[in-house]
């Protein structure tokens, strides 16, 4: 065996360290720097967009659209609202990527296991 690291090993190793360590050990947002995020006015605008999306959701329920169209639009709006709050109000868009990874790991895992479980109950089968 050679004492050299193989290309593959080095590559994997770098990738793992990248998961939690910002490049070159320098944090994009040094401690004490709270300048990231939107201005207060920006937050108000985001809230307006969220309010608008909620209004759309509620209006949709009174429109008697065909089931599939209605469901699709509602789910898209739900995901959009969710994403907006997480990215802007919870600062994930501006913060270190580790937070995003930790949170979305839990979220996606939850979606995966529970959707799979509901599938075994024939939940999504046309009734």
């Amino acid at each position: 065996m050679s004492s050299e690291q193989t290309e593959l090993e080095r590559d994997i190793s770098d990738k793992v360290d990248d998961v939690v360590e910002p490049a070159h050990g320098v944090d994009e947002h040094p401690a004490g720097d709270h300048k990231h995020g939107l201005t207060d006015m920006g937050y108000v605008k985001v809230a307006l967009i969220l309010a608008l999306m909620t209004a759309m959701e509620v209006t949709l329920t009174y429109l008697h659209l065909p089931g599939k169209v209605f469901m699709t639009i509602l789910l898209v709006l739900m995901v959009a609202k969710f994403w907006t709050v997480v990215s802007y109000f919870m600062h994930l868009k501006f913060d270190n990527k580790i937070f995003t990874r930790l949170f979305y790991t839990g979220l996606l895992l939850a979606c995966f296991v529970y959707l799979a479980a509901l599938c075994t109950f024939q939940f999504f089968a046309p009734s």
Binding site: Y43, M78, Y88, F103, F123
Partner: protein, 244 residues
Amino acid sequence: MADIAAPTTPASEPDTTAAVALGVEPDIHGMVPTPGAHDDHGLVHGGGDHAGGEHGHATSTGLSNNKLAMWMFLGSECLLFGGLISTYMLYRGRHEGSPSPSQLYNIPLTSVSSFVLLMSSLTMVLAVSAAQRHDDRNTSTWLTVTALLGATFVGAQVFEFTEFYHEGLGFTTNLFGSSFFTLTGFHGVHVTVGIIMLMALVGMINRGKIPGNKAEVVEMIGLYWHFVDIVWIVIFTLVYLIPS
């Protein structure tokens, strides 16, 4: 038998020694505070629970311990609410002995209370922003408004529960009842805990009694609050707007 990339040089000086020479003190992490990063009290004390990047201590990732922990907790909460939502989805159609979901739900009322909770996220983010500017007065004000909006939401939920009960849906009536009250009840308890934390925080800010970094504490509770809000975004759509 060959070792992988064995370094042959003996250990070099740990980089904390330089800092010690300057009279700066390493904390229990063996990390040295970054110069000029003293917090409000001018303290550089190290220390477990409140140590972290926001405190002026360099951690391995440069990030605050508290914030990492909070995000992990929220990731974990996704699986908690996921389980409750799935239970509800499975059981929502099993409503023998009570009105069906679409007969019971009062969409206008729930829309208003959802809107109130959504707006409380805005006031919360304004509180965080004020805290980061070290603006105690506005922080307290926005936190109080957030708590009031949250209380309005919980009030609407209590009203809704009472209505449902009078219309014949109790916790023990059927599977729909058990799973509906468990899911929304869990959410309501989360909001209530949030309100208690907000009020305690206002009290502590007004008395100047926050151990650790104030802006970070506000941000922590803010993350929790927003999370409760996004759970409601999901519940509002999946439970209320999409009928079985």
